[in-house]
């Protein structure tokens, strides 16, 4: 005779009307065929608040192998057997320059520069960086602005080469000749110019939305993100859908 658990008992009581009635009217008979501890029997007889703990334990045990696998192996780390590559941060700086020619209106040009993002120990305090930028500019030019460009490489596949003929190794063997890498780029405000913390490598939260229900469905960013979803393949669609969510909540284009 199969011996069911407390979880089995609760599931059957939820789905089987006749068994439920038996559990309510004659629990001792209902317990037959179930391997229950004295405490579990007491709880199922008294049906007091402790039953909630039994239900919680049942839900915790109810994870299937597929769900456990999904929890341990989220989509973004599916290729975990490949090495992780460091991300690259660049500082994009745009400084306006005002030039005054005789007998003509002032003209504005821009000096753009791209440099490695300084590490934490090399970064200057915001006030000092602002003073330096102001000193470099003419007195009547608006202040320059800068952004962080973050490039995140992801290894998506390996490239293999067959071994040359006559090799002492098995002819069917091959060696890894290189890695196929995909890049994701995004641009963020320079935290030195704002009061915010530097952006983390985690997905940014939709801080600009005052309510989760304010969705910028008419924004160009949302429409572009939707187009990207439609153009994506099955493997990349989940990430593109998350990008669409960002666009809906912030109205900004990502990457």
């Amino acid at each position: 005779m199969a011996h069911g658990t407390a979880t089995d008992f609760l599931v059957r009581a939820a789905l089987d009307d006749a068994f439920r009635e038996l559990a309510l009217t004659d629990p001792q008979r209902a317990f037959e065929g179930y391997d229950l501890s004295d405490e579990e029997r007491d709880i199922l007889c008294s049906r007091d608040g402790r039953l909630l703990g039994l239900l919680g334990a049942a839900v915790a045990k109810a994870k299937t192998p597929i769900e456990q696998t999904a929890e341990d192996d989220p989509p973004e780390t599916a290729e975990s057997h490949f090495p992780s590559l460091p991300e690259v941060n660049l500082l994009l700086r745009l400084d306006p320059r005002v030039t005054h020619a005789p007998d003509s209106a002032p003209s504005v040009g821009y000096a753009a520069s791209l440099s490695p993002w300084p590490g934490e120990h090399e970064r200057k305090p915001p006030d000092e960086e602002g003073r330096e930028q102001a000193a470099e500019q003419s007195n009547d030019a608006p202040p320059g602005v800068s952004w962080i460009i973050r490039i995140t490489p992801t290894v998506v596949d390996s490239v293999t080469d067959a071994l040359p003929c006559g090799s002492r190794l098995n002819k069917a063997s091959s060696v890894t000749a290189g890695l196929k890498v995909a890049y994701h780029a995004s641009i963020h405000p320079n935290p030195s110019q704002t009061s915010e913390e530097p952006p983390s490598a985690e997905r940014p939260t939709a801080a600009s939305a005052t309510s989760p229900w304010i969705h910028h469905v008419e924004s160009a960013a949302a429409k572009a993100a939707a187009q990207a979803v439609r153009a994506s393949d099955a493997d990349g669609r989940y990430d593109k859908l998350l990008d669409l969510i960002d666009a809906l909540q912030t109205g900004d284009e990502r990457g």
Binding site: T7, L10, V11, A13, A14, L15, R20, A23, L24, L44, R47, G49, L51, L52, L55, A58, V59, A62, K63, T64, E67, A70, E71, P74, R203, T205, A206, P212, W213, H215, V217, A222, K223, A225, A226, V229, R230, A234, R237, Y238, L241, L242, L244, I245, L248
Partner: protein
């Protein structure tokens, strides 16, 4: 064809699923659900070839609940684009105290997918039955607990009040930890602006299983902090009206039983 149907599974595990909802799930290629009922998986697997729980992969301790909702929405849309039609099934009613369905609706609009929403039984319906409440008698004001405090919403003491999710008050982060009394101090102070300290309130939790009765705690408003260890995230607070608003339009009062008045206002 409807690509995504959003449904509610009710509160009392599988017993409160409507026939309409059951029919839709049977006709879906996949049902993705957020419901921790002990028999939910078994029941849904009997209706649909593919039943996928999103709860375990969505929520993380101390993480922002919005991240979970984003994950749910992305999974549902992903499935709908791959093998429609699909059903997204939530505990309770699918538009009460939720965010993912609204996100799905807006995303689906941009992706030219059709969405339909079916009603489900919510904790409010269970509470009306449990406490024998008729919201038509004196009305009903209802707020989510943290929103009530953030906006310092005023309450009318002559209108019964329903405060949702008191067990989750003061945080938008997911947790399974028991509350401390301090968690309810701000709520108590706010409520004491409108009700006397001895006013009896009711904290109710609709049962998720037919073997377990619903949980109802009655206590004076001033003692709410002392109930902290009992008030888990499933509780709703019902505040009966403290005073009765008198009738002011005596003329209308006389007219409501008048056949002549009825003839005058109808064709």
């Amino acid at each position: 064809m409807v690509d995504i149907t959003i449904v509610g599974l009710g509160v009392l595990n599988v017993d409160q699923i409507t026939r309409e909802t059951e029919r839709v799930i049977r006709g879906s290629n996949e049902v993705l659900y957020v419901d921790t009922g002990v028999a939910t998986r078994t029941y849904l697997e009997g209706l649909c070839p593919r039943a996928t729980s999103l709860f375990e992969t969505s929520y993380e301790e101390a993480a922002h609940r919005v991240n979970a909702y984003h994950h749910m929405a992305a999974r549902v849309l992903d499935a709908a684009m791959d093998h429609p039609p699909v059903t997204f099934a939530m505990h309770g009613h699918p538009t009460v105290g939720v965010f993912a369905p609204f996100l799905i609706r807006d995303m689906a609009g941009l992706l030219d997918l059709e969405v339909r929403v079916l009603p489900g039984i919510s904790a409010m319906d269970c509470l009306f039955a449990e406490l024998m409440i008729d919201p038509c008698v004196a009305g009903m004001q209802m707020y989510e607990a943290t929103d009530l405090l953030l906006r310092r919403r005023p309450l009318l003491p002559d209108v019964p009040a329903l405060i949702w999710q008191i067990g989750c008050v003061e945080t938008s982060l997911h947790t399974m930890h028991v509350s401390k009394p301090i968690r309810f101090e701000r709520l108590r102070s706010h409520l004491l602006r409108f009700y006397p300290p001895e006013h009896e309130v009711v904290a109710a939790y609709a049962t998720p299983h037919p073997l377990m009765p619903s949980t109802v705690y009655r206590f004076a408003l001033r003692d709410i902090c002392e109930q902290a260890h009992l008030l888990h995230p499933g509780f709703t607070l019902f505040i009966p009206s403290a005073v009765e608003r008198p009738i002011e339009d005596r003329e209308l009062l006389h007219l409501v039983d008048s056949v002549e008045h009825l003839r005058r206002i109808t064709r």
